[in-house]
């Protein structure tokens, strides 16, 4: 087998020039009469290093990054094809990079290592052992393994996945569905995307296990249209799985049938909300449904439906393979297992950091993330997407844990954290939160639809210095109304980024700053 050279086929890597890098490497090989396999692996999730080119060496895979197309010549000169480590872009053995080494990769164990569309490589690294186990122990024991693992939904609400599955399994029906929520609309998140592009069979296996567990024979992945590459890779992987008896009738030679297909969203953030998503899948406007009935009882086309975030589903194979107890032993309190934390925004080392719950926000931002990309002081972090609170530096001791965040009126959400330096204008960010809500509101409830528009207007007045105190009172009141009177978290949680900005950064709203809170 010839030596393998790896250039990620990942949206971030490609956006930073990976395709051109691959072409230039190919040309350089041809010019030297050398032959190597250029494997388009997925990303390891160390995005600040993308495009990260790797080469097999006897000692392990040596990496170079971030490689621009214009760097290829000098890299080749410096012995990239021989795995030499002299070039300034060389990062040494990839597995030894502290950012990667410090992680606990359970869900993302294979990302970046394998060719995403190679079933053999997937199986060599533990793939389809989870499904084999599920087939061996049967549906109800499979649900109980997931319950025992303590896995909570990674889409935001943190609802125990095992309980959801039990409910669907117990609901009488001829047809049940598995729906994967891959709408991933939160700014600062890309974990779903990474799985789809780097390890698509992991999602296919997870959904198949879910189908077996609850008696569903059909699955849909609702993927946002902003992820064209994810859609392409997933569609290819589904074809391969079908051709290999891993989807369709009698999966893996068992008595269970399961098949699935990809569906594309159309740029509506609210379609990440599970009931709006179901309506969208049915071909309707993505309007939020009132609950009850729960999707577990009456979901897609009125049938009992498991709707889970992509990461919840992609975590199921490792849980089945290694056992619920193995997974549960990671984490803290009621937050069990690992979370792929997505470090983004104005940060030096942005990427995926999968780790057990309990790590502090400050460690993530400063130690792992390396502080800001701009080199300026960190001022705030928005955790959990556009509906999540802004946390000031003095709250950086908060451990990454559902309950600890909730205690600070903050949210983990899908695990994204967006870092801002001291040039950020928090009144502007508060205004953006309201504007985003009015842009994305499904229109069903007045506090969300009209309230967010009024919120923007009121913030404009505050920013302009018009009757500031009176308008601040109106804003606070409005936020209260939105919290209490909204059907879903779009209207109900938009007040969190707004009020947290106001509470922690009053000086940006023209108010006299509060006495400085005790130093961190």
């Amino acid at each position: 087998m010839s030596t393998r050279l790896y250039v990620p086929n990942d949206a971030t890597a490609i956006a930073c020039g990976a395709d051109r890098v691959a072409r230039k490497l190919n040309d350089a090989l041809a010019a030297r009469g050398q032959s190597m396999d250029i494997v388009r692996n997925g990303s390891r999730g160390l995005f600040w290093l993308e495009p990260l080119v790797e080469i097999d060496t006897p000692a392990g895979r040596v990496g170079y990054g971030p490689v621009k197309p214009s760097d290829v010549d000098s890299l080749v000169e410096a012995g990239l094809f021989e795995g030499k480590t002299d070039h300034p872009l060389c990062v040494g053995l990839v597995e030894e990079i502290p950012y990667l080494k410090k992680q606990t990769r359970l869900t993302f164990a294979r990302c970046g290592i394998i060719d995403p569309l190679s079933l053999i490589e997937y199986k060599n690294l533990g793939g389809y052992r989870g499904l084999a186990k599920a087939i061996e122990i049967g549906p109800s024991a499979t649900v109980e393994q997931v319950f025992e693992s303590g896995l909570r939904g990674r889409g935001g609400a943190g609802f125990p996945t095992g309980i959801k599955w039990r409910t669907v399994a117990a609901a009488p029906a001829d047809q049940r569905y598995i729906v994967c929520n891959a709408d991933e609309g939160d700014s600062g998140t890309f974990a779903d995307r990474l799985i789809m592009e780097a390890d698509p069979f992991c999602l296919i296996e997870g959904m198949t296990i879910a189908g077996l567990a609850v008696g569903a024979t059909k699955g849909f992945v609702y993927c946002r249209s902003e992820y064209p590459l994810s859609l392409e890779v997933m569609n290819k992987a589904i074809e391969i799985a079908r051709a290999n008896g891993l989807l369709g009738k009698n999966v893996l030679g068992s008595q269970y049938d399961f098949d699935m297909e990809m569906r594309m969203g159309a740029g509506a953030y609210v379609c990440g909300e599970e009931t709006a998503l179901l309506d969208s899948l049915e071909g309707k406007r993505g309007v939020v449904r009132a609950k009850p009935p729960l999707p577990a009882h009456k979901g897609l086309f009125g049938q009992p439906t498991v709707i889970n975030n992509l990461i919840s589903l992609a975590t199921v194979p490792v849980i089945l393979d290694k056992g619920g107890a193995f997974y549960r032993d990671f984490g803290m309190g009621r937050s069990r297992g690992t979370m792929p934390i997505q470090i983004a925004g104005n940060v030096k080392y942005g990427g995926i950091f999968e780790t057990a719950f309990g790590i502090s926000l400050g460690e993530l931002v400063n130690d792992i993330g390396g502080g800001t990309a701009s080199g300026r002081p960190v001022r705030a972090v928005q955790a959990g997407g556009p509906l999540g609170a802004y946390l000031p530096v003095h709250q950086f001791d908060t451990p990454f844990d559902y309950e600890a965040f909730a205690a600070k009126d903050a949210l983990i959400g899908h695990g994204g954290i967006v870092v801002f330096d001291d040039t950020v204008d928090m009144a502007h960010m508060a205004r953006f939160a309201m504007e985003f809500c009015s842009h994305e509101s499904c229109g069903k409830c007045t506090p969300c639809r009209i309230g967010s528009t009024r919120g923007v207007e009121t913030l404009d007045k505050i920013i302009a210095g018009t009757k500031r105190d009176a308008n601040l009172a109106i804003l606070t009141d409005l936020c209260q109304t939105m919290k209490l009177g909204s059907l879903c978290a779009l209207g109900g949680f938009t007040p969190y980024p707004v009020l947290s900005a106001l509470t922690h950064f009053p000086e940006d709203f023209g108010a006299t700053p509060k006495l400085p809170v005790a130093a961190e």
Binding site: A11, T12, I14, A15, C16, F47, W48, E50, E184, G185, D186, S187, G188, T189, F190, R193, S225, E226, Y227, P228, L229, R263, M264, G265, A266, G267, A268, Y269, S280, L281, E282, G283, K284, R285, G286, V287, F301, Q342, I343, A344, G345, N346, V347, G350, G351, A373, Q382, P386, G416, V418, V419, F420, D421, V424, M429, F432, F436, E440
Partner: protein, 157 residues
Amino acid sequence: MAGYEPWSEIRAQEIITAHRHMDGATMPILHAVQEAFGFVPDLVVPLIAENLNLSRAEVHGVVTFYHDFRREPAGRHVIKLCAAEACQSMGADKLTRYAEERLGIEMGETSADGRVTLEPIYCLGLCACAPSAMIDGRLVGRLDEETIDELVAETNR
């Protein structure tokens, strides 16, 4: 830049027929229609309604709900600049103003010569390499004024 087909009812019917059997076929049909014609022409609405046994109002409601569906053709090139938080933290607002100046249009507008449309997009999942953009379906990360200049040049080709 994608070359789109001119409107044809026969072609539209073909697209609908190819997707009609799907559960919840409306969205896949609308996406396919837009991929073929570059937008969702009003003329297709009654056709979809009839084929799927829906009312025109229902189909119209779907077309207008989703930000992705265009009811008029866009410019020959489409630049989408990410306007979400992570990109803002890296100066997306300033870059947007720069792009607007360079193109002589504002966000949401198409140039008078039909050459280019500039639009916001809310997150491309490239938030660790912000700010980011999409031009004619191609992703661009680590955007700065220089890369904006390159994108603008691309629209002149």
